[in-house]
């Protein structure tokens, strides 16, 4: 903290025109060990350990220049003990394949560094940057720190805004975040930098329309790529692995409707991206339209994807996605094949949503209905047959002066076709003779805010999901899960929060601290000023899938204590 204050002061010495912005997030986590040692007096706490994680973001601005740095550090404490005179390591932090000058119990990483200079209407950047083309079908590497999947492109890019023309070019290798900020750091994984280069041009002001076109090429690093980023060009091979070309059209007010259209074609060169034995290229078409008749807002989307997500299959092990197509899917609706709704290789269908402004900005009920045909049976999916997805959702936003209620309820059915499987091993498919049933999900979300005693504010946030499964290779047991949070905001910057999670999913990788299925926790937050937040948490929460920005990650549960300080200068 002292060093940060020094940094801040240092900027003042540099001159009035320079500005240093610093954000720092420090978190100390004490994990309650999950593997108590048997028959060892007083050893039940040996498995406990502490983790200190810090993320420092510093950006120096001067004139038309910007220099940025993200420095991540992690250290484990009380992570080893002696048992029968032998040193036991509770958790390994740094494997042999990752260089660590701080030893195997601490890791420091210059996670992102970049320099940007604006030259008139052109902005040039070297170092770590982000890029998204169109609606993300061709390239979608954006800052996503919400679930520890932040991946940038380490290289160079230029953005030019020349009148009605915008031009973007980018080239670099992927740089995935290695230190996890919100989850246990167990075994820092070595990096694989995949080469990505692309260009996009947009032409604005063509009457009510804008058009754009883009192209992206990919070359993926092999598993034996060496130590990042010095693995050398040999790890990429002589050929490009994939090429993507696409175009977009956006038009406002034509026939009273705002339109967006995108088409992309995917040329896969690498055998690892092929579908079966055949060279199978892919394509994607997406359209959305919005109309505003009277108090109603109508939003429609339609899509037709064929082998559109194979690029992601080579980075599954890295835990992020290269491309991410648009969808209006309700993000919490995660079924066993959530990727089918969020990012299926082969899917067609549409969704329509209507919002009615009964009282604009105050009371808006809405309803949506999605119908999709998901044909994807491979890749990230484990469907045995194509399925038809039907998903109605209804909700209301009521934001009054004193009471606020945002709630929705939905019911999703993934109905599989009759199977055409060789179930008896005679080499003949028993066409349409096997009913694989349907996966069903009912979900409810509630966020309710109301005044509390003596002008204090209170919030109740809850979500409940109930799953019923058809014939499913992975999940066979119906289950319910939910979360509940009750927060009371006090005067003086204090907030008190109680959490409760429930899940009876037998496959979940955590167990409750109140009983097997029930988790409880409490947190106190204090904001001494607008730029600083201090949080103290004690208790447990469940493991599960969390999604953010179209990417989902299975995250571990937690049981223990946590102290975090976030501040900005």
């Amino acid at each position: 903290m002292l060093s940060l204050m020094c940094l801040s002061a240092w900027a003042v010495e540099l001159g009035d025109d320079a500005h240093l912005a610093v954000n720092d997030d420090l978190e100390l986590r004490l994990y309650r060990g999950d593997s108590p040692l048997p028959d060892t007096t007083g050893a039940e706490d040996l498995g406990d350990y502490a983790e200190l994680v810090n993320r420092l973001n510093a950006q120096l601005f001067w004139g038309v220049n910007q220099l940025g740095l993200q420095l991540d550090t992690v250290a484990l404490f009380a992570n080893s003990y002696y048992l029968d005179d032998e040193l036991v390591l509770e958790h390994a932090l740094v494997p042999d394949t990752v260089q660590s000058p701080l030893g195997d119990q601490a890791f420091i990483n210059v996670e992102k560094v970049w320099y940007t200079r604006r030259l008139g209407d052109v902005e040039v950047q070297v170092g770590d940057g982000y890029a998204a083309y169109g609606r993300g079908m061709a390239l979608n590497l954006v800052r996503n720190v919400d679930i520890d999947v932040d991946t940038s492109l380490l290289g160079a890019q230029a953005n030019a805004a020349l009148g009605d023309w915008d031009l973007t070019v980018v080239s670099g290798i992927t740089n995935r975040q290695q230190v996890l900020q919100d989850n246990p750091n167990v075994l820092i994984s070595p990096e694989r930098g995949h080469m990505v280069s692309g260009a996009r041009v947009d032409r604005y002001g063509l009457g009510p329309a804008n058009v754009g076109a883009h192209g992206v090429v990919y070359s993926f690093a092999g598993d034996d790529g060496g130590t990042y980023p010095y693995g050398g060009f040999s790890q990429y091979g002589a050929e490009l692995d994939a090429m993507v070309a696409g175009a977009t059209v956006e038009a406002f007010g034509i026939g009273g409707i705002d339109w967006f259209l995108e088409g992309d074609v995917f040329a896969y060169q690498s055998e690892e991206l092929f579908s079966g034995d055949e060279l199978s290229n892919g394509y994607a078409a997406y359209a959305s339209a919005a109309a505003y008749p009277g108090k109603v807002t109508l939003l429609f989307e339609g899509k037709h994807y064929v082998d559109a997500y194979r690029l992601n299959s080579l980075v599954v092990a890295d835990g992020y996605a290269m491309v991410n197509g648009p969808t209006l899917e309700y993000e919490r609706a995660v079924t066993e094949d959530s990727a089918a709704a969020l990012g299926s290789n082969d899917i067609s269908g549409g969704r329509v949503r209507a919002d009615l402004a009964v009282k604009p900005a105050v009371l808006i009920p809405y309803a949506s209905l999605a119908v999709f045909r998901d044909r994807d049976l491979g890749g990230l999916h484990f469907n045995q047959a194509p399925e038809t997805v039907v998903h109605p959702v209804g909700g209301v936003d009521w934001i009054g002066d004193t009471l606020k209620l945002l709630t929705n309820v939905g019911y999703r059915v993934d109905r599989r076709d009759g199977a055409t499987l060789d179930v008896d091993g005679d080499g003949i498919d028993e066409a349409n003779q096997i009913d694989l049933g349907a996966d069903r999900l009912a979900h409810v979300d509630v966020d309710f805010r109301f005044p509390f005693f003596a002008d204090l504010g209170a919030e109740v946030s809850a979500d409940v999901k109930r799953f019923w499964w058809g014939d499913n290779r992975i999940q066979q047991t119906d289950f319910t899960e939910g979360t509940l949070a009750l927060a009371v905001h006090m005067h003086g910057g204090w907030t008190f929060i109680g959490y409760q999670d429930f899940t009876d999913n037998p496959l979940v990788q955590s167990s409750g601290n109140l009983d097997d299925h029930l988790y409880g926790a409490a947190e106190v937050q204090y904001k001494p000023n607008s730029s600083t937040t201090i949080k103290a948490f004690y208790g447990a929460y469940k493991a599960g899938i969390r999604c953010a920005g179209g990417q989902c990650k299975s995250l571990p549960g937690f049981d223990g204590a946590r102290l975090s300080v976030s501040t900005a200068f």
Binding site: E13, L14, G15, D16, D17, A18, H19, A21, Q59, F61, W62, G63, Q66, Q70, Y130, A132, G134, R135, G136, N140, V142, R143, N144, V145, D146, Y204, N210, E250, F260, S288, A290, T297, L299, E301, N324, G325, P326, T327, L328, E331, D355, A357, P360, A361, V362, Y366, K404, L406, R449, P451, D455, G457, S461, H489, T495, S530, S531, G549, G550, S566
Partner: protein, 158 residues
């Protein structure tokens, strides 16, 4: 250090708030520097962010009430490409009139709010300096925010 100091002394920025250029919901190019001389409230939000939805009516009230005093709200959507289609319909359905900008590739949020906490508020004074930052929204925060805005507006309105 000396060399760096000399390099930095050549700055041309009027204030310390980094300038940016983003497209709004009508695809017009909007630069922060176009609002020089005004008090600007940058509000980083997303369509899926519940506290953002609760805060927005308060921002609309301030935007409507104080526009003639040289105040504007720039609501910067951090929705990525995936959910960009939701942004304009949501704004139109709720009747908000402040400018809404797309930061689809996260360049501006990385500059102002690298942790991407939402909602995130940045107040910029008439000289282009960052005067106030605030993360999150809970009931009553708008009262303090309004006090900060009034302080920044006061010299020009007197």
């Amino acid at each position: 250090m000396l060399a760096l100091s000399l390099l930095l002394s050549g700055s041309a920025l009027a204030g310390d708030a980094p300038d940016f250029s983003l497209r709004n919901t009508e695809n017009d190019d909007v630069k922060l520097s176009e609002f020089e001389g005004q008090v600007v409230l940058l509000s980083f939000w997303a369509t899926w962010c519940v506290p953002c939805q609760v805060e927005m009516p308060k921002l609309q009230e301030m935007h409507s009430e104080l526009a003639d005093q040289g105040f504007t709200v720039l609501a910067i959507s951090t929705d990525d490409s995936r959910s960009k289609s939701r942004v304009k319909p949501m704004i139109k359905s709720k009747g908000y009139t402040f400018p809404v900008l797309y930061d689809t590739d996260t360049k501006v949020v990385t500059q102002y709010n690298p942790e991407k906490t939402l909602p995130y508020t940045v107040l910029i004074d008439r000289e282009g300096n960052v005067a106030y930052k605030h993360s999150g929204y809970s009931e009553g925060d708008e009262v303090h925010l309004r006090e900060e805005v009034d302080k920044l507006l006061a010299p020009a309105s007197e």
